[in-house]
Amino acid sequence: MRRIVSESSKIKIINNLLVLVLALYGISQKRFDLEEMTLFQRLVVEVVAPVQKGFANSRQELSDLINNYVRIVNTSKENVYLKEKISRLESDLFQMEEIRRENFRLKQMLSYSEDIGQEKILAQVIGWDSANQFKVLRLNRGSNDGIRVMSPVITHMGLVGYIYRVGPNYSDVLTILDPNNRVDALVERTRTHGIVEGVFNYRCALKYINRTESIEVGDRLITAGVGGIYPKGVKVGMVTDIDREASGMTLGVEITPSVDFHKLEEVLVLMPKVATTAQVTTPVPETVKGP
């Protein structure tokens, strides 16, 4: 019996050690700022992302379902018919309103995209990262649509992030809310450089700002255009709090992103610029693909 137990313990120890070594190797290779999808991940994402997309597309229906449920919980039997009718009409109205809002958003996005001298792809947000530590969202566009890693992602409201990893039909965006994403930014009024980092709770921090800088609450931040990922001049956010009491040589500056990540539904992925010579000889037409 003792021999059986010790044999079992040996197998347990060997298994634990093997997987621990694999995991440690995996962690040592892990990058939190960029990643290539493995074949297995691509396969799983290709299978599950359409389901995620389905939920994202039926956002209004789900919302109506919950609203309708809450609305009819306390109704009496006599009123069921009338309530249902009202509910149906309201649902139609909601849908009309949703279409109107979507139309408005897409128009804004289209008019904004015309101002950018770069090819871009319109994509829909279909999911969020399932871990709390990371602020990543999934788009319904991938390498088959021309999306590449490190492509900047924006909306008409401002900067969203960049493409962290890409599959054939889906891609993941590391948003500016994520602590692993650092954006070189400029304070629009004073032209002061700083680094914007995510700090959770849908806020960011502007770092490395000298205490002598005259930054004020309400100052707007734009991308500085250095670093090779983001184009210059995209809105990043607004200064909402300054901690001048913080110890050290720099200020503690809180930033509220320009983009409302709670309501983010469509984004623009900017494509890498084509070579200058190619642009001179054959201008690339601006194209915007629908979500």
Partner: protein, 178 residues
């Protein structure tokens, strides 16, 4: 008792299916209905169930398999959760004699305590990897609301997984040799 190999495979496949459904719920369904502040890390609770209630030499491989699936839904990747999962299962193996799952509250408290260990370890490893402990507190506290909700849901999830792994007859005692 030696398990039938086919039973083991079936339980694993069903558990992976449950994980996929729950990951879709937390990454797409809940955000679609307006829940975007906190994510519910169901992979953590499923691994905790395996660590606390299933005793098998293959446990580390199960943990890795679950994390590989989780990596398709999160940039966290498979390695971090696998490492922490094995650490937690080692701790659980030493505490098995004193852990009880006789009531829902006992399950909730145990799951909450192990989730705290999980998130302290995860935040510490990420900070070590990034070379700065500046965001350690934030990473940890940011996960807390989700862990509380998961602990409340854990008796239900454990009941479901008990059926899948055939550990339901073992009420009150943790660790079933399979």
């Amino acid at each position: 008792m030696q398990p039938r190999f086919s039973r083991l495979i079936l339980s694993t496949l069903i558990t992976l299916g449950i994980l996929i459904a729950l990951e879709i719920a937390t990454s797409a369904f809940l955000p679609a209905i307006g829940w975007r502040e906190h994510r519910l890390a169901f992979n953590v609770v499923i691994i905790l169930f395996m660590a606390l209630k299933v005793t098998t030499p293959l446990l580390p491989w199960f943990v890795m398999m679950l994390q590989l699936m989780h990596a398709a839904f999160s940039v966290e990747g498979w390695a971090l959760g696998t490492l922490v999962g094995i650490l937690v299962s080692l701790i659980a193996s030493y505490l098995k004699e004193i852990l009880q799952f006789s009531s829902a509250i006992a399950t909730m408290v145990t799951v909450q305590l192990f989730q705290l260990v999980w998130y302290v370890s995860t935040a510490a490893i990420i900070c070590l990897k990034l070379g700065s402990f500046e965001k350690f507190g934030m990473m940890f506290w940011n996960a807390m609301p989700g862990t509380l909700l998961l602990s409340l849901l854990s008796p239900l999830l454990f009941k479901l997984l008990d059926k899948v792994w055939n550990t339901e007859s073992d009420v009150g005692r943790s660790g079933v040799e399979i």
